[in-house]
């Protein structure tokens, strides 16, 4: 059993019409608990006015994304041990580039609508899921397996993306990754959506999205791949015209 730590949670607070400020809460934690456990205990035992988003507590729903000590984290699987030390602080802020509903809770509406607009799949056949260490060959049976997609639509990539910070119109990493996974070949109508100033060309290759992605999506690689797909598509069109 590990020794408990005494830490301070510095939590960003903002109710409707207020300017944001920080409230501090001191608590004893087991460093092997998750950041979300500490946030939840603030609400349960110290301050019932705190609003935050959470649902599954095991990284499948994507609801509990927050900025922890200035880094985007899925708080339900982020150990306190990895973010601070005994006597240290956890600064908890809402995701950036989203409207704030209250305190740490943000509105995911635009993200969800844009994912819908590129037809990002929520479930897909297992052989298309690009998993690590796939079997050498997929059997006929495997093709029948349907699985939930890797992207949990948590918004961490949008919050971390420097390009998303400069423009509300930029589709953003999760959406471009969804379009890539869907494939331009299969969905030629996506081309116009992603091959434009608010699409793949606004990405400045900061790769922050991939750095913070908690769910193996690797949006940066997918954006680069989408660019390749677009160039290929342009060449194909050129030849068809000729």
């Amino acid at each position: 059993m590990s020794q408990n730590w005494n830490i301070t949670l510095k939590v960003s607070r903002q109710k409707e019409g207020e300017t944001p400020h920080f409230d501090e809460y001191k608590m004893e934690v087991n460093p092997d608990e998750y950041v979300l456990d500490a946030v939840e205990r603030v609400w349960a035992f110290m301050d019932r006015t705190l609003c935050y988003r959470h649902a599954c507590h095991h990284s499948t729903c994507g609801a509990c994304g927050m900025r922890v000590n200035d880094v985007e984290k899925l708080t339900c699987i982020t150990y306190i041990r990895d973010m601070t030390h005994d006597g240290g602080t956890l600064k908890i802020e809402p995701l950036r580039n989203f409207p704030i509903i209250s305190d740490l809770a943000v509105d995911m509406g635009t993200l969800y609508s844009r994912l819908e607009s590129v037809g990002a799949r929520s479930v897909l056949p297992a052989p298309e899921a690009e998993i690590e260490n796939p079997p050498a060959t997929w059997s006929a049976d495997d093709g029948q397996y349907i699985r939930l997609a890797d992207c949990i639509e948590c918004g961490l990539c949008i919050s971390a993306c420097p390009s998303a910070a400069t423009s509300d119109e930029y589709l953003g990493p999760a959406i471009l990754a969804g379009a890539q996974a869907n494939g331009l070949k299969r969905n030629p109508e996506l081309l116009a959506l992603v091959d434009c100033e608010h699409g793949v060309w606004r990405c400045h290759s900061a790769f922050e999205c991939t750095a913070v992605c908690p769910s193996f999506v690797d949006p940066a690689r997918r954006i680069m791949d989408l660019r390749t797909q677009i160039i290929k598509e342009r060449f194909t069109r050129l030849f068809h015209k000729a």
Binding site: C56, S59, A126, E132
Partner: protein, 388 residues
């Protein structure tokens, strides 16, 4: 006559599904929840779309509900489901003996099962315990909890339901005759209190149902029973794996995205708002899970968490029935205007909503039948874009 207004307290599985049902039956619906969608028990389920096999021996009412609803949900909300089936596997003599009553139970509950050889099971799922003695294929599945609830909520919204999240029920408003006529609410995003008046209040707060009912002096015999679950960072199987024996700790391994989840334990608590995850329960999940899938022993833990089941029916822990019950508090406590739905399981959310909406309709003299069996749910992503 204007539409009747139903206020639903709780935006988990039963609340969102009941909103969907009542909206289709022509009600004005307002759902309130102190948090966001699925912030309580519903969000934290292991995500097993039960075929009913787990209950086919001792709790056949629940088993039949599960298989019927499992088949329906596959059709109406495929966007949130991994429909890959499941296996019940026997690892010892006691499991084998249970297999006999299991076959009879599944037959009685019309759950389609198929016995396959352990060799065939290992072909299908190479990471299973190679020492298994028997295996049965069953129509289990996996669902994403938030997306399941959001699909119901989105469709309810499309049909006019309103969702007021981060809005807490502070007290129930009673008229002079002991009838519930609304809810005093606190909008937690703005810190403003107000009154919400309705023709009926539906208490869909699951494990918390007793706390809401008590606001009107009514009683709900719900026994909140948490269990611990552990998610591991490797998708060892495509199917849900069940231990072929009576329900017990750590007897289910559920694949989900790139994980498997082992669940669950069973204990009782008094404070529902924060339940710690006990390390000894986490260890137990590892031990029991590794019996089914040995590789779990070396897998990286991705998340340790708990959820509080709302058990009803008087039994203790595992012996409690997993069926659901809708209480018309006019009958149970002489409090009119208040209906409670609790118990049950995620898999039976639609049936729970149908029963609740039936009770609500009967109380208010509405004669519209339930249609949710035939209504395809819209994309969960439209929950946000539908007008509120």
């Amino acid at each position: 006559m204007s539409k009747p207004h139903a206020i639903i307290v709780g935006a988990g599985f039963t609340g969102t599904a009941t909103a969907h049902d009542l909206a289709l039956r022509g009600f004005d619906v307002t759902v309130i929840d102190r948090g966001d969608i699925c912030n309580g028990t519903s969000g934290r389920t292991h995500g097993l779309l039960h075929c009913g096999g787990r209950y086919a021996v001792k709790d056949q009412e629940s088993a039949i509900e599960c298989i019927d609803e499992n088949m329906l949900l596959r059709k109406i909300v495929p966007q949130a489901i991994e429909p890959n089936g499941g296996l019940f596997i026997a690892l010892n003599e006691s499991d084998l003996q249970y297999g006999e009553v299991f076959i009879e139970g599944c037959e009685a509950c019309h759950i389609p099962i198929e016995e396959i050889t352990p060799q065939k099971a290992l072909q299908l799922e190479p990471n299973l315990n190679p020492g298994m003695l028997a295996a049965f294929l069953v129509p289990d599945g996996t669902f994403d909890p938030l997306r399941l609830a959001l699909s119901f909520a989105a469709t309810a919204k499309k049909n006019g339901a309103k969702f007021r999240i981060y809005t807490e029920a502070k007290s129930l408003i009673l008229d002079g005759k002991g009838t519930v006529v609304g809810v005093d609410i606190l909008d937690r995003a703005s810190n403003k209190q107000s009154e919400l008046r309705g023709d009926i209040v539906v208490n869909a707060t699951g494990a918390w149902a007793g706390e809401i009912a008590e606001m009107a002096g009514a009683d709900v015999p719900v026994k909140p029973t948490p269990g611990v679950m552990v998610a591991y960072e490797q998708r060892f199987v495509q199917r849900a794996i069940n231990r072929l024996n009576k329900p017990g700790d750590g007897d289910i391994v559920v694949p989900q995205r790139r994980m498997v989840i082992v669940g669950t334990s069973s204990f009782e608590v008094s404070d529902l708002d924060y339940v710690p995850v006990f390390e000894d329960h986490v260890k137990l999940m590892l031990e029991r899970g590794a019996e089914l899938i040995p590789g779990i022993r070396n897998a990286k833990v991705r998340g340790k968490y708990m959820a509080t089941r709302p058990l009803i029916g008087g039994g203790m822990g595992r012996s409690s029935a997993r069926t659901f019950k809708c209480y018309d508090h006019k009958e149970t406590d002489n409090v009119d205007g208040l209906v409670t739905i609790t118990g049950g399981k995620a898999t039976t959310l639609r049936a729970m909503a149908e029963k609740t909406a039936d009770v609500v309709c009967e109380k208010l003299g509405v004669n519209t039948p339930c249609t949710t069996k035939d209504v395809q749910l819209i994309s969960y992503r439209q929950y946000y874009s539908q007008p509120n």
